[in-house]
């Protein structure tokens, strides 16, 4: 499903050399490594946010190496969730649909469906800065999922959550994974993905 072949990239003092990764459809893969090991860079390379100097990215057999990020079938959940502060929760979730030119009625239906699924319906009129960490995560997930990405990239999704919220976040991700979506989850904390990942990759080591 996802095939990263010999990705190489240099930014500042950090160099990624010949990183390869193969994921099957429905995989929940944890990419583990300490801070500065290049986990986020790998996600950004797959998402197209950084231009690859060497290597290739294939998704469902199609070469996306030179494709700009807006044309990749990839959803990326940022570590700080990156909600747009000048838009309400509703507008945040509707944003990817709006830029695709989908009509208003369909946008409203889709936003409400995802908001119900993620239990954030009551927050739709709120602004992001009034939400808790867990609520922000659900909004960011809803915003990413409305475009039905083939591959979901999670960058330290639980780092901003305290213990009780982590449990509900794990349940949420487990639920997503059960729906068959392929997930690549970056974290420095192996316990976070204990009950989630069917594959683990330690940066610098081969896939288990």
């Amino acid at each position: 499903m996802l095939s990263c072949r010999k990705l190489s990239y240099t930014v500042g003092d950090f160099t990624l050399r010949d990183f390869s990764l193969e994921l099957n459809r429905g995989d929940y893969c944890a990419l583990l490594g300490p801070s500065g090991s290049g986990k986020t860079v790998i996600l950004e390379l797959i998402a197209g946010l950084r231009p690859l100097k060497k290597g290739s990215v294939f998704i469902e057999g199609k070469d996306y190496t030179r494709t700009p990020p807006q044309h990749r079938p990839v959803g990326l959940l940022f570590q700080d969730y990156a909600l747009f502060p000048h838009m309400s929760v509703y507008e945040n979730i509707a944003y990817p649909l709006k830029i695709r030119g989908i009509d208003k009625v369909e946008i409203r239906e889709t936003v409400h469906t995802f908001a119900e699924d993620l239990d954030i319906s009551r927050h739709l009129n709120r602004m992001p800065d009034t939400l808790s960490g867990g609520e922000k995560q659900r909004v960011a997930l809803a915003r990413t999922l409305v475009i039905h990405p083939l591959l979901l990239l999670l960058d330290e999704p639980m780092s901003a959550l305290d213990a009780p919220l982590r449990e509900s976040s794990v349940a949420l991700l487990k639920n997503l994974s059960a729906k068959g979506i392929t997930i690549l989850h970056v974290t420095h904390d192996p316990s976070e993905v204990d009950s989630l990942a069917n594959r683990r990759i330690h940066l610098g080591n081969s896939s288990k």
């Binding site: 990020p69 747009f84 944003y95 830029i99 695709r100 475009i147």
Partner: protein
């Protein structure tokens, strides 16, 4: 105890120096206002030469501020987001009009639009003489004031987290949509501040404007002309009226910006 005494003493010194500084700003303005009679002010307000010059100053400055925005905002965005060789040099170029004597800026603009220049020759073919035209006034105003817009907008774009732009890209937005829907709205307060600064600086410009166009007269040129020809008593009411209008426009734009920010 000693510490407390020292603190009080330093505070008094600071208050005294601050008071003198504020007095330095306010005293000439108050002197100007108190030495102008109300009937004289009303008479000036009815003087069509004065009202025309105020309309010209405000109108040209507003128009060229908006026009400059079309070019200044992309430049500000590039300066905020891109690292490239020669960036410090480009920033230096942007700041040059701020440090130039304004009369020298006027001479530079005059060289740019005179009949000998490429632009002047082109205008000549079309039957226009740029020198002494409202266009020349606008170019002179924009030349000395556009750095305020570029720098304020650049600071505004810099304050927008790049993460938000990346998030928008990953959600399907093209670079232009990211600029229009994410960067621009989030940098809006700084951009509006820049526009207000550029507009205010442009409409009050004298040194550069007087060199490229004595006529039609903008208000700063008219104030100078009346002072030069008839003396202080004739120049003062025009100055007071223009200051009042500048302050009113400035306050209105600030309130509008704050209201927009609030909404």
């Amino acid at each position: 105890m000693q510490y407390s005494k020292n603190y009080t003493f330093i505070r008094l010194i600071f208050l005294f120096l601050s008071g003198l500084m504020l007095l330095f700003i306010v005293a000439p303005l108050l002197g100007l206002f108190f030495s102008t009679s109300l009937p004289g002010l009303f008479e000036t307000f009815r003087d069509s030469e004065v009202t025309n010059s105020i309309g010209l100053s405000l109108g040209i400055s507003a128009l060229f501020t908006l026009l400059a925005g079309v070019f200044a905002l992309p430049l500000a965005y590039i300066m905020a987001r891109r690292e490239f060789r020669g960036k410090a040099f480009i920033q230096g170029l942007i700041d040059i009009p701020i440090v130039l004597p304004h009369s020298a800026a006027g001479i530079a603009v005059l060289g740019f639009i005179s009949r000998d220049s490429a632009l002047g020759k082109f205008a000549d073919i079309l039957g226009f003489n740029l020198v002494g035209s409202p266009f020349a006034i606008g170019i002179a105003m924009a030349f000395v004031s556009v750095p305020f817009l570029i720098n304020a907008a650049r600071d505004g774009f810099q304050a927008v987290p790049e993460r938000l732009e990346q998030a928008a890209r990953s959600l399907g937005a093209s670079p232009f949509k990211v600029f229009r829907q994410i960067s621009l709205p989030l940098a809006k307060p700084s951009i509006i501040t820049g526009l207000v600064m550029m507009f205010a600086r442009g409409m009050s410009e004298f040194g550069a404007v007087v060199i490229v166009a004595y006529h039609p007269m903008t208000t700063p040129v008219l104030i100078f002309d009346r002072f030069n020809s008839y003396g202080l008593d004739y120049a003062r009411p025009v100055a007071v009226l223009f200051i009042i209008i500048c302050i009113l426009v400035f306050i209105s734009l600030r309130l509008l910006a704050r209201k927009r920010k609030g909404t």
